[in-house]
């Protein structure tokens, strides 16, 4: 079943130096599955994710032939209805906890804010739900974290707090932008299994944005490879490590390998033709 279908998405920025096209005609559809988007920074993967929630600020502009989420065209919804979708129906875990959490608000207050304001939940119940969400992302000492400010948490803890925050309203679609890049392998595995459980048990759709090809190959069902605002290759995740496109192959080849010869790592060939 298709949860989200995007046709010919374009994101453009009008800058002093002229029009910059961050996303140029991206189309994809998402069921209740794990879709990976990989590419270098600047390839438009984050912008693609943000566009789905219409979180692009002026001077950025979004255009698409169609962006259907559960039967509704997101391009045509008024802002008020869009706001009602964000949170309960679709949510995004942002990349960097340092910049995405409110630095002057305790973690607990931030976790409870949505419940209190949107769902009109009582204080005690909101507190209980927030603690439960922190436990769900494997935070060992949730009561302490509730009382902490974001600067008192490590990067990995901050990232898990953001995931917990997005999972409280139980969305149908989660867009996770580099959710595990600040985590080390062991915690990364935990967070991935949490996300995996949500896709399997709750039937959530997940867009997983990452620059780590090996991680995406292991974790996702399907993968879009983006280059300069376009999708250059779409393939099943298990085929990613044997990708055909020279750009995807280049991304794989420039990774060091255990037991490699330690010679200079190959650089990435970039061909303007691929971005056409």
């Amino acid at each position: 079943m298709t949860l989200l279908s995007v046709k010919n998405l374009r994101v453009t920025f009008d800058t002093e130096a002229g029009v910059v096209e961050a996303v140029r005609g991206v189309s994809f559809s998402l069921g209740r599955e794990r879709l990976g988007i990989v590419g270098e920074s600047g390839s438009g993967k984050t912008m693609t994710g943000r566009s789905v929630l219409r979180l692009i600020r002026p001077p950025g502009r979004i255009a698409a032939d169609e962006m259907l989420f559960d039967g509704q065209d997101l391009m045509k919804l008024p802002e008020r209805e869009m706001r009602a979708l964000r949170g309960p129906r679709m949510a995004m875990v942002m990349q960097d906890p340092k910049y995405s959490l409110n630095p002057v608000m305790k973690v607990g207050a931030q976790l409870m804010e949505g419940l209190r304001q949107r769902d009109r939940v009582g204080r005690a119940e909101a507190h209980g739900k927030a603690v439960a969400a922190l436990e769900a992302v494997q935070i060992r000492d949730p009561e302490r974290v509730m009382e902490a400010y974001p600067h008192e948490l490590s990067g990995g803890m901050g990232q898990r707090v953001m995931i917990a925050m997005m999972l409280i309203p139980n969305p149908d679609l989660l867009i996770a932008d580099e959710p595990t890049s600040a985590l080390d392998v062991t915690v990364q595995a935990e967070v991935l299994s949490i996300l995996d459980g949500l896709v399997r048990d709750r039937g959530m759709g997940l867009i997983f944005i990452s620059h780590d090809l090996r991680l995406v190959a292991r974790f996702c069902d399907r993968v879009l490879v983006m280059y300069k605002g376009r999708v250059v290759e779409e393939l099943a995740a298990q085929d990613l490590l044997h990708a055909k496109h020279p750009y995807t192959q280049g991304l794989l080849n420039c990774l060091p390998r255990i037991g490699g010869d330690r010679g200079p790592l190959p650089g990435l060939d970039r061909n303007a033709e691929w971005a056409r």
């Binding site: 490590s154 990995g156 985590l183 080390d184 392998v185 292991r218 390998r257 330690r262 200079p264």
Partner: protein, 249 residues
């Protein structure tokens, strides 16, 4: 005699009246021109060891010796040891141009010929000299990390402490940065002490690696032992197995 000798190092922080033992009884030694890696999960104390060497974390017990002499911080230390931090977005002064960032160590140490040295430093790390009067926000992450490396090399140190120097970078930019570090190491005979959570990066760069957990040393591995999966402790093995997709082939 090893260039860097750390014996029984402990680092203890006091946080809100609670003692946090970040590093406990860690010993290691790094020969001149050797590259030594530290791996472990976050909170294992690997970065804290680098910070303790620089004086950014308190040495609560044990000794750190450089070239046989107990470490003494000050100008002489800065000439020998420099550090490159993980986050190129946070480690450069946002309101200083590259020129100012790169010439400041020269001014502090009273080294002349700043003009030529700054241009040379930009060239050495593969940045166009036209970037000289740019600000960090006008550069990409990879370019900023090149600036951070150039800054660390301004005083021509013999030891570079590298704290996750490529983990904030894309795969292609990581490859370029690792190649740059290898080239500079060969050209200048540098000694690296490098922290990373990526075993493949460590294997690519380092001759030996120390696996850490909860502030303690778990196991030291040679490069051969790492590639051959000859680790003795369960923890080192679990780290290795979590990196199985980083193997050659």
């Amino acid at each position: 005699m090893a260039l860097i000798e750390i014996e029984n190092l402990s680092v203890i922080f006091n946080a809100k009246g609670r003692e946090v033992r970040a590093v406990e009884g860690v010993s290691l030694s790094v020969e001149a021109r050797e590259s030594f890696g530290l791996v472990g999960e976050s909170g294992s104390g690997k970065s804290t060891i680098l910070r303790a060497i620089c004086g950014l974390a308190p040495v609560s017990g044990g000794t750190i010796r450089l070239g046989g002499a107990p470490v003494a911080r000050g100008k002489a230390f800065s000439r020998r040891v420099q550090m490159v931090f993980q986050d190129p977005y946070a480690s450069l002064h946002p309101r200083h141009t590259l020129d100012r960032t790169l010439s400041e160590p020269l001014a502090i140490h009273g080294l002349g010929d700043a003009d030529r040295r700054v241009m040379q430093a930009l060239e050495d790390v593969g940045l166009p000299t036209s970037f000289r009067f740019r600000y960090p926000h006008q550069l990409s992450g990879g370019q900023r990390q090149r600036v951070a490396i150039a800054r660390a090399l301004m005083l021509e140190p013999e030891i570079l402490l590298l704290d996750e120097p490529t983990s904030a970078l894309d795969a292609s930019v990581q490859a370029e940065t690792l190649n740059l570090l290898s080239r500079l190491r060969d050209e200048r005979g540098l000694t690296f002490l490098m922290v990373s959570h990526d075993l493949a990066v460590i294997d690519h760069m380092c001759d030996r690696v120390l696996v850490m957990q909860h502030g303690r040393a778990v196991e030291e591995l040679s490069r051969e032992a790492l590639a051959g999966a000859q680790m003795k402790t369960a923890y080192a093995r679990s780290l290795f197995e979590a990196s199985a997709d980083r193997m050659l082939g």
